[in-house]
Symmetry: C2
Subunit: 235 residues, 2 copies
Amino acid sequence: MTRPTLRLYELVLANGRSASPYVWRVRYALAHKGLAFDSVPLGFTEIHTFFAGRFKTLPVIADGATMLAESWVIVDYLDQRYPEKPLFAGAADHAAIRLLDAWLSFEVLRRMLRIYVLDVHDAARPEDRSYFRQSREARFKMTLEAYTADRGERLSRLREALMPLRMQLRQSPFLGGTAPSYADYIALGAFQWIGSVSSLPALAKDDTLLREWLDRGFDLYDGLGRDARLRPLFE
Amino acid sequence: MTRPTLRLYELVLANGRSASPYVWRVRYALAHKGLAFDSVPLGFTEIHTFFAGRFKTLPVIADGATMLAESWVIVDYLDQRYPEKPLFAGAADHAAIRLLDAWLSFEVLRRMLRIYVLDVHDAARPEDRSYFRQSREARFKMTLEAYTADRGERLSRLREALMPLRMQLRQSPFLGGTAPSYADYIALGAFQWIGSVSSLPALAKDDTLLREWLDRGFDLYDGLGRDARLRPLFE
C-alpha cells in the first residue's frame, strides 16, 4: 500500500530549526502516529507568497491534494485519515486537551512570547527580521525592545504559571499519565520553541519535576526533540 | 440486585447548603452515574470527631464497609466499582482532566478563596465560625478581613483567569464537548461553592459564554445545581 508522502511546511530560523510551538506539536503528533513526512522549511516572509495568500500561518500540511493549516485542524485530520495510534481517546478526551491548550496559550505561551519575542527576531533568518519586527511591533504597539524590557521580572510569573504541570508530574511521568499524550506534545512544543531562540534560561536549576519531564519528552521518538542547537532551558 | 445505599458526607452551611467545591464535584459525579445516595451533613467542627480523626476533610463517601475521602479517590472508586456511565474515557482522558483540575485549583480556586473566604465564614453554622476563623487565620497568617481586604481588585484577575473556559465554550456547549464531562463538574462545583456564600457577584453581566454554560450546567440532572438559596453569580 503506497500513499503520497506527507509534507510539513515548517517555520524556519537562521540555524535551520523549526521556530513555532504549533509546528512542534504537529511534529510530535506525526511521530506519535508513525507517519513519515518531508519537511519544507519556509521563513516568515515566504509564507504569504508561497501559498498565494491561502495560508498566513504555519504549520501547513499537504497530503496529496489536501492542504490544511492550523494545528488542531491538522491533527484532527491525521486522526481521521490515519486512525491507527490515535492521538485522542474520544470526544471527551479531545475536549479536555483542547481546554488544556486554551489554558497553556493563555497563561504560558502569552508569557513566553512577552519574554522571548525579541530572541525569536534575533534568531530569524536575516531576510525575515525586518518583516517580523514590523508586524509584531504593529500588533504590540511598541518596539520589541520595549515589549520585552522587563522580561527578567516576568520570568518569575512564567515559572509560577507552570505550577499545574508540576502538580501533574508529581502524579505521573507524563502529563498524559504513564504514556505521553497530545497534552505533552503541546507543552513540549512550547519548550522546543523557546529553546530554539532563548538568550535567557526559562527555568530554575532546581525545577526537578520539569527537568525530568523535559528529558523524557525530548527523548521520545528516537530523540526527536534533541538537537545540539537547542539553547539552555535551565539556569 | 440490591446494594447498600451510598452515603455522602457533605460540608454544611447554616442554610443547609453544601459548601465545598470538592463535595459538589462528587455530587455531580454521582448524578452522572445515576447513583442514589443518602446525604449526611456535617459542620466544619464535626468532621474530626465524627470520623474519630480518620478523615480531616469532606467529601467522604461510605459504600457498605468501604469509606473513602478525597474527591479523586472517591470518583476513581465509583468508576471502578460501578463501571456503567464512566466518568473518564480512559487513562489519557483521566490524566488530562486531572491536569485541568491542577490548573483550576492553582489559577481559579485559589483566587476564589482569597475573595470569598470571609463569606464562607459568615455563611457557616454559628457554632463552626470560630473554629473556621482560627484555622484559616493560622494558615493565612492574617485575619480573614485582612486576607480579603482588596477583593474588589482581585475580582478582575479572577475573571481574567477564567478566560480558558470561555475559549473552550466558543467551541462547544460544555467543557467536555457536546456532553458534560468531569471537567464540567469540577468547574461547576467551584461556582456552586461561591454561589452558596457570595456577597460579591463573581462575574460581569455581559459574560455570556459563562452565563449560558452555567445555566446549562445547573440544569443538568433535573436541576441538581438549582437552588433558591444560591446567591447571584452575575453583577
